[in-house]
């Protein structure tokens, strides 16, 4: 019986290994610098920050500084952040729901003009959203009177998002085993029941992924919210002006605290799909 020996590769040579560790470590350090200074400086008072950005906060002042900075920051951004979370959540759920229903229709049903209608959805993916923004702003504000409302944000997001969501979901729905569907139909299941009890649970990973991506995209979105909202600005739109305000008021510590707080919803969001992000399997699994 031959013992299976692991072949040493050229990349296992010491020189390559040392090089790898050095390169990776150096890159890690540089990559973490922004995060590092944000965390550290959010626990310092303003003067220390200006004096030396690298310095560590005094231990005895640490808790006081943290309390000060974070409470100032939280006060300012709690309302816009809630708005961002709210519109991102509803927007993303809406996209996923609409996408699931449409994907079910296009994958399981056959009806006249199906291909033509599907092409209509796909064709819009060629046009980037910024193309239509001039007219869209005008249309939403003047014709529909939806400026500065949540619907003014959601409607175009849903309208535009359904194309890519439909495209993505349809493939996954088509890959689901046919036998389950057939037995469900034999049992006399209605369409909405099949959708709710079979299609969606089977496609849960991709639905979750799309929700997480959608939420992240909408939470981070600056362009469309800045055009449609005047008074009810969500967080991203206000971030720049708030940071300048903190800077002018010599509250740099609070400014850094604000960035940390702003990351919390995204952190929670990503944790929902942690497995996918870490392994990179999904990325490799993208059928390219």
């Amino acid at each position: 019986m031959m013992k299976k020996k692991l072949l040493t590769r050229q990349s296992d040579r010491i020189s390559i290994q040392i090089l790898s560790y050095v390169v990776i470590s150096v890159c890690l350090v540089f990559a973490m610098v922004p995060l590092f200074i944000t965390l550290v400086n959010s626990a310092k008072d303003n003067y220390s920050i200006i004096e030396n950005i690298f310095s560590f906060p005094q231990w005895n002042e640490l808790f006081q500084n943290i309390a000060d900075n974070y409470s100032i920051a939280a006060n300012e951004i709690i309302l816009p952040m809630w708005r961002s979370v709210f519109i991102g959540f509803v927007g993303s759920i809406g996209n996923v729901a609409i996408g699931a229903i449409l994907a079910y229709i296009f994958s399981r049903k056959d009806f006249p003009f199906k291909e033509f209608i599907f092409t209509l959805y796909i064709a819009i993916m060629l046009v980037p959203s910024i193309m239509g923004m001039p007219v869209l702003v005008n249309f939403m504000s003047n014709v529909l009177n939806l400026k500065d409302t949540y619907w003014g944000y959601w409607l175009p997001t849903w309208g535009g998002g359904q194309a890519s969501t439909l495209f993505l979901f349809r493939t996954f729905f088509q890959q689901q085993p046919l036998s389950i569907y057939e037995s469900a139909e034999v049992e006399g299941g209605k369409d909405y029941q099949i959708l709710w009890y079979i299609s969606i649970p089977l496609a849960k990973p991709i639905l979750m992924l799309q929700f997480v991506n959608g939420f992240s995209a909408q939470y981070n979105d600056y362009l469309w919210p800045s055009l449609i909202f005047n008074d009810k600005k969500p967080l991203m739109v206000m971030l720049q002006s708030l940071s300048q305000q903190f800077g002018n008021n010599s509250q740099n510590g609070a400014m850094y605290a604000m960035y940390i707080i702003a990351a919390v919803p995204l952190l929670i969001n990503t944790c929902l799909n942690l497995k996918e992000f870490k392994s990179g399997d999904f990325a490799a699994g993208l059928k390219l």
């Binding site: 390169v23 922004p34 995060l35 990351a263 990325a283």
Partner: protein, 725 residues
Amino acid sequence: MKRNKTPLILCLCLFFCFTIGAVFSYLKMPKNIAVEPILDSFVTSIDYKQSGNGFYYSGGTKIVYVDEKGEQSEAIDLSEQTGGQRIYSLMTLEDKNSFIAFGDDTKAYLLKEDGNVLKLEGSFPYNGTPLKIASGEKEFYVIYQIGNYCEVRAYDYEHVSDDFTRRGLLYNYGGKGEGITLTLAKGLRIVSAFVEDDMLYVMHEGGIYKMDTSLKMNCFKFLSEDERTAAGVVSYNKNSYEAVIAEDKFDSDALAVYTTGVTAGCYCKENGQLYFITNNRKLMHYSISEIGSQEIGSDLQLKAVPDIALQDNQAAKPSMYYDAAHAKGYLVFDTIDNLVGVDFSETEVMFTTKGQFDVDDVEISADGSQVLLMYSNSKNGNHEDMQLKIFDVEKQADKSLFTTLLYVCIILAVCTLVLSIFKGMRSSSEKYDTKVKQTLKKMWKHKWIYVILTPSLAGLFLFCYYPGIASLGLSFFDYTAEKQSMKWNNFANYVNIFTNKYSLEAFRNMIIFLVTDLLTCLIPPLIFAFFLSFMRSKRFSNFTRTLLFIPGVIPGIATTLIWRTGIYGEYGVLNALIELFKGEPVKFLTSSGNALASIIMMGFPFIGSYLIFYGAIMNIADAYIEAAELEGCPLLKRIVKIDIPLIMPQLKYVLIMTLIASAQNFNRVYMTTGGSWGTQIPINVMYNNLVAGNYGQSSAYAALLFLIMFIPTFINLRTQKKGME
């Protein structure tokens, strides 16, 4: 069997009928013309042309002529005469084809129409503020506000430059006592002034003043003591200009005052009726011939005009403008936004227009077919906001009717067209007939699908197709938020983009960013992924990957801002390091030399999309690696010849995504430099234009960006489609 052709013929006939109906409605629809002033400064006053159609408006030192189609031409420039001061008021001299232009230089100019141009016939000085003009046969009378009273001055047409011939004050009629007391008329809102039968009528707030054109009962201020006594003045107060005149010397034909209790009115020469509009929107009238029969100083008993019903809105201060030639009045309610046209001779309401008007003045063209409105969209009545619009009176009357008719006809025409096509096809071939029937049955079976799809498709069209196509279209017009003109501007928007140094720099920057983005998104992550894959310690590898996902959680904008202040800022990391080596602080983002490079270097060490590459590398089958090792292939050669081709799909994917994202990367420049110091990019310029309201220009940028991004987006779509199927 010959199929029945009757339904087809019927449908075709209906189709033609509705098409004709639609065309007819369209032709009959009123076309309102927005007039954009061609002056440098804002519009101050408007007037109508008497010898022909069209209007004049004044602004700055010029007067511009607008014809019935909205074409403008300069009529006269009085900058020499006024010394650069502006003309702020135009007043018509009826039946004389001329008007007076009052300038800020306290000179008034008599201008006579000569074709579309104006000729200066004379000028005279004035003081105070001119309120109204009334024109008679040989003379005209201007009512001025001087201090807090009104003065009337008479001028001779032929000898205007000799200044006024006579003048008098506007007096109120007091009771009897020692004599008739004449006190100065208080309140200065003159709504109308006209000459009838050699008598000057001034319609004033709450009253009508009727005076002889000789002004003999008004001129006491300007007489000497002896002259006054000779005229019969018993006492005269030099300060309040009050005069008491003996009853027997008072000529009641020369001065009479009546109260009306309303604040807006006009005189219709045709039927000799004075029309008034009360504060609660009632139209009243009074016959001018009856004025003499009333007791002087008494209240005119106005009669309601019964057949005219005006809309019931909240009360507002009304104004009236009168078209003498056609006996039509135009009522404007200042704080309410509509203009009501009333035909006095027919006593009926012609039309009511709606709009965001705060109307300042209304002029009617000589033939009564057009109305020029000077209004502002803002409620503070600033002259800077004044806009001009020409309304078509005749067609205005039926606007809503014809609009509805037009839409109904169009819809019915389309329906009948479709129907006739179907019928035609069905009647021509039996096979097609059955096919259509089958399709329709199938559609009915799946009707709920179509019901669900309808709102979805509607959203798709409303929010995606329509804005996209309309934006492309808008880029060819001069469309801005203030002036919504659909004027074809000969690609001016695009020409501007290609000739403007600023925007060319923006495109140059975009290309620079594109190239650097491709380099930074492909090479460093790839190298990093390879090194990560070489590492033997799985624990370290996992640790790295976990650690690296944390910075990705911070919002993109926050990361950009952190780079801006924390790293590139005055007290940031880089400057702190430089200070450590005793250097001078460097301005990274705020200097033209450094800004672009700084933005490009943002995101160092550029390991963003390493995970995709890492996953792909890890998935390379061991067999390939081991085969290469057995052959004694050097590491670098193996990477280049084997690994990279095997992960080519992922490389392509990242390449395409980077191309698409780079052109649309808005935050990077906006949050750091805002486009200054040579870092502007097209999407930022588009955004700035959009926010400023230059929709046309912004659409041009969007269209160009679309063209640039079209190819990578298309390739991406094709690849995804292939991969997914």
